[in-house]
Amino acid sequence: MNVIEGNNVSKKFQLFHEKEQTLRGYFVKKFRKEGSRRVEEFWALKNLTFAVQQGEIFGIVGENGSGKSTLLKLICGILRPTEGELRINGNIAALLELGSGFHPDLTGRENIYLNASIIGLKKREIDDKFEEIVRFAELEKFIDTPVKNYSSGMFVRLGFAVAININPDIVLVDEVLAVGDEGFQKKCMEKFNQFKKESKTIIIVSHGLDTIKDLCTRAIWLDAGELKVEGPPAMVVNQYLEEVAEREEREFKARNDQIRKQSKKRWGSGEVEIRDLSFHDKSLEEKATFQTGDQLFIKLTYFADQEIPNPVFGIGFFRDDGVYCYGTNTAIDGYDVGVVKGEGEIWMECDRLVMLPGHYFLDVAVFSADGKRTYDLLHWIYSFKVSSAKLDKGVFLQEHKWHDSLSAQERTEVKEVQR
């Protein structure tokens, strides 16, 4: 039996760019006859045809803005399709924004009755389930306290307990299986499995793709409001992941090309291309802000079309006011890069960062071995910040000591240290 059946479901939203929810705005527009000009139409869902059978655990994946929430709202009846038909058989428990129907000034008890009647229960039915709801939410002691005094965990637990204990035919879950502490989560999963056994229909929307793979029996992938793939969850999730990775790669390329186009910031012949650069701390975690004296790693990712013997990688540090603080390259340091081809990375390790607080920009470049040809140069694109608790002034931290007088002996000691 199909509990949910959608035929060519489409949903259009109107985006109002100007606030025209005032009478004046309305009349002004009527008179100028430009009412339609500022309204933009947006199809959140386009021609969606699908069916969910009783007992299925149905997963929906898709990027933000792909229409997942719109679909859930259509299924709950909060929205109506602009075109097409959506049929629902059975009552629904929607685990969306738990507890949003609670009134802060009312007690837990009063809110249970209010919330359960919103879902459509009669008083007698609520009376029957009341004990169980309170027990499930573990709120026996606080049930006559106004919910504004509840902790956020108690609040969510109560919302979940009400929604899940009304014996629905269809359960909608939107990223909320991870509520409360571990014990409560375990209880939720038990309830969930019980629903499974009772062959209730469950619809899950999640960014946790593993959840979808593990729990669902079937899944769909929504892409910009359209159904892209439908089938076994593992297949759908894998295809979705592939596409997301591809998309990210494409976006990355587009961004790089754009940077190259802004010729003032990047130039070069392109045989070796600098793909990315990132800053890392001593545990190799990526960071953008460091302290004077910290250990700093700079990771440079490159890509070479063809075999290039011994390219020279160089990095220059500039303070944001243009002061050229330091510059070096692999040739100066006598570091042999070897022959490069394809994607690779090179790391620069700075033991102690000597720069004083400020915003530092980098020139990053890769040259031919003889230094005559610039393969790629990125000017002031990457930057990091330095902060410090000390008040030293200037560009870099000069190592130093203070003395009231230096005896001959102390001076020799210092000399020895220097040697």
Partner: protein, 258 residues
């Protein structure tokens, strides 16, 4: 229309709970609690008696009771409309979470004000006794008049509640309009003081017939005059129908426009 009312009947439990919530929340954080619903019309009565009976010297017997008979239905009227205008915007979080017929918001606002009105009526009966005004058989018509006024208010509330979502200015306009309406309704003066040349236009206001009928059954032991009450009845039914149909027409745009 009948279908809508049937569905609504299935949601009676929810309406009951919304009304309970409204009443509880309204008085929960005040010391005098629900006595405010009795106290505020009394205070208004005292102020208006001072202004219009003592200072402006309107000649009406038992002026405080005369006032109270009109103030109570009037505050039922004005606070219902004000509450309904806010009801949908105020319940925004619920609107986005679950579906139930949206007219429940304005309807339960009106009902909670009706409950308040009932409490306040008990004070009125106390005053009737104090002023030694005898209650006659005409009082049996009181429920009918309350029913007519309630239908009138429901119709208006349905209209006001959805249109406020689309035009937020209405909240402010409503406030001004209600104070205008107050003065063209015989709350502080008897209709006999209205100049003859205006009287036909005057009775176009349905509240005139309704307030007069309240006074007739409560103070004077008269049945409501048919020519006075027929017009409000017709207006109420038409308004209720129009209000309900337009509400249902725009119901699903509310959540998108809020």
């Amino acid at each position: 229309m009948i279908e809508y009312l049937k569905v609504l009947f299935n949601y009676r439990e929810l309406i009951k709970n919304f009304v309970k919530r409204d009443l509880k929340v309204r008085y929960k954080n005040s010391i005098l609690g629900f006595f405010w619903s009795l106290l505020s019309p009394l205070l208004m009565m005292i102020i208006l008696t001072l202004a219009f009976s003592v200072i402006l010297r309107i000649k009406v017997d038992n002026y405080p009771v005369f006032l109270l008979c009109a103030i109570l239905p009037w505050s039922f009227h004005s606070s219902s409309l004000t509450f309904s205008a806010h009801s949908i915007i105020y319940n925004d979080p619920l609107l986005n979470k679950v579906y139930f017929p949206r007219e429940i918001f304005p309807i339960s606002s009106v009902i909670s004000n009706l409950v308040n009105f009932f409490f306040a009526l008990s004070v009125l009966f106390l005053f009737l006794a104090v002023f030694k005004i005898k209650i006659g058989l005409a009082i049996l018509m009181l429920p009918v008049i309350i029913a007519i006024q309630s239908i009138f208010i429901l119709g208006l509330s349905l209209l006001v509640s959805w249109s406020t979502v689309f035009f937020r200015d209405l909240e402010h306009i409503l406030e001004v309009f209600l104070s205008f309406w107050f003065y063209v309704t015989p709350v502080i003066y008897p209709t006999s003081m209205v100049p003859d040349r205006f009287i036909h236009y005057y009775f176009l206001n349905p509240m005139v017939g309704i307030i007069k009928s309240y006074r007739n059954v409560l103070m004077y032991n008269h049945l409501p005059a048919l020519n006075e009450i027929l017009y409000p009845i017709i207006v109420s039914i038409v308004l209720f129908y129009v209000g309900y149909i337009t509400f249902k027409k725009y119901e699903f745009y509310l959540v998108e426009r809020i």
